[in-house]
Symmetry: C2
Subunit: 309 residues, 2 copies
């Protein structure tokens, strides 16, 4: 069982319109909805890979009920969300049919009280003994302490459960200092954390700050891993056309899957990059195509070196 934590869950709604014109009136031709927030997306990919996953985080109001009802229909995903008095946020992606361009509207989400945060921490601690890895994903909702992820990392380490962190800004900085097993920043997040725009230098600096392994996502250029065993970069074949929504979450799912199977790093990176590319290629944002994934596995290039013993 893998546990994913999404403190800022969302119901992700996609609208198709002909072309968004400010101050106009638009008939939405198609509405799709799915449970969202980074950790929920990671859980869906892990479940599609055949893993059992528990999702926790917060849920509230009518939108939270709808999110939970849709999660209940996702095979392999168990719901351990903690109720809050506020209302779970919606995100609306308005896709222009003419160009495929997307306009994003994000609701603010509930403010979490300190009592709700305490309840969450107890739930999290009670779930840890049954899990083989935990992923902490996404932004913090209003009301939570900036060191929230750092605390959750320490609790996981005390329980002996490996922990992956995927967040940004000050929660990332504090989280890295709590010594997580893996952090997965993108190049912007890495530069903000370390001040370096060179991903390799930034990744190595992040390891010195406390992270055991750093896997930096380089967008279309794949993943760069700085680990105790060595340094590798995995690159997808050519440019992959499509929708990059959820590609980072698919990479996190690939890294967790490789962690559980204790695969060598070059293999883990290959799987994560292929999953990420298969997600970009998929017609539905955040889903991935199994046959595209299998085919892409053979076309990912890995370069790098094992550290001297």
């Amino acid at each position: 069982m893998i546990l994913t934590v999404t403190l800022n869950t969302a119901l992700d709604i996609t609208y198709r319109v002909r072309e968004l014109r400010p101050h106009g009136s638009h008939r939405v031709s198609e509405v799709t909805e799915r449970p969202g927030g980074k950790g929920v997306n990671v859980a869906r990919v892990l479940a599609a890979l055949g893993h059992e996953v528990t999702v926790t985080g917060f849920t509230g109001g009518a939108t939270g009920r709808e999110l939970q009802s849709q999660l209940a229909g996702t095979p392999g995903v168990l719901d351990a969300l903690v109720p809050v008095a506020g209302t779970t946020r919606r995100t609306i992606a308005v896709v222009d049919e003419l160009t495929g361009d997307t306009t994003q509207l994000n609701e603010p989400g509930p403010t979490v009280t300190s009592a709700e945060w305490s309840t969450f921490q107890k739930t999290y601690e009670s779930l840890l003994p049954g899990v083989s890895a935990v992923a902490l994903c996404g932004s913090l909702p209003p009301g939570l302490p900036v060191g929230a992820y750092a605390g959750l990392i320490r609790t996981a380490r005390t329980a002996g459960v490996p922990v992956l962190l995927d967040t940004s800004g000050e929660p990332l900085r504090r989280g890295v200092a709590a010594r997580p097993d893996i952090v997965k920043p993108n190049t912007d997040e890495l530069a903000e954390l370390t001040g370096s725009h060179d991903p390799l230098r930034g990744a190595r600096d992040t390891r010195r700050r406390g992270a055991h392994t750093v896997v930096a996502s380089l967008g279309a250029k794949g993943l760069l891993a700085a680990t105790p065993e060595g340094t590798w970069q995995a690159t997808p074949p050519t440019h992959i056309p499509g929708n990059p929504t959820g590609a980072g979450d698919a990479a996190v799912a690939g890294l967790l899957s490789g962690l559980l199977e204790d695969l060598p790093w070059p293999t883990r990176l290959t799987q994560a990059v292929a999953l990420s590319a298969a997600t970009v290629l998929a017609p539905v944002a955040g889903e991935f195509d199994h046959s595209a994934y299998e085919e892409l596995l053979g076309r990912v290039t890995v370069t790098g070196e094992t550290n001297a013993a």
Copy 2:
């Protein structure tokens, strides 16, 4: 008891953003929601005026449940909505904080099956004996026959219940031929129906087509009524600044209220125009300010004449 029919109910959501930019990402600073669709708006104004109102129409899915939960919190409004398998639509109004301009996104709403339409007709017929007036409001959802309103008008007339129709296009044309007591087109709807851009000429023509009384809404210029007793125009004082959303629905509520009290037409029109203007002035779209309404009642101008006996 007044009955309002909203065949295309909606959950009306308003988002405030700094400024909507196509293909950008926006943080929504404020989210408000209320039950919507024209007949639901009319019911809310009638209830605020002290009338008992029953709302019927269709409801479905998670959005329908949320709409009904919010309706249950509206004093004076009874819920007699008929369940459908599809999902009630959301409408999203994105308001720019900088300019107050609004961008509208309207979901398509459920397709109503012929079995669901039959169930609705039976519910409607069973409600009629207990009501003193019925209002048929708004567009038809996919799946309904274009003569849907015409049928509902005939059923109301058979039951001896006065009926007001507020719709457009072919449903209006068919509805007028079924001889409703009042129709309330705007100038565009009147021109489409009759081919005349002169509201007085159009209103008189609409009477010849079957409507007992025609009340045309002239936007900021008020209301024009062509009735068996005479012809009147009621005009609000100067230009009313504000949000015109729901002003037409407030006018319908005023006309129904005046019908129940059997007020002379000039008084009915005065009340309807004052309600409409008080709705434009209100800070929340579709609500109205009681003290503004009372004050505006004394400032509406009515011109016109009683027919020769």
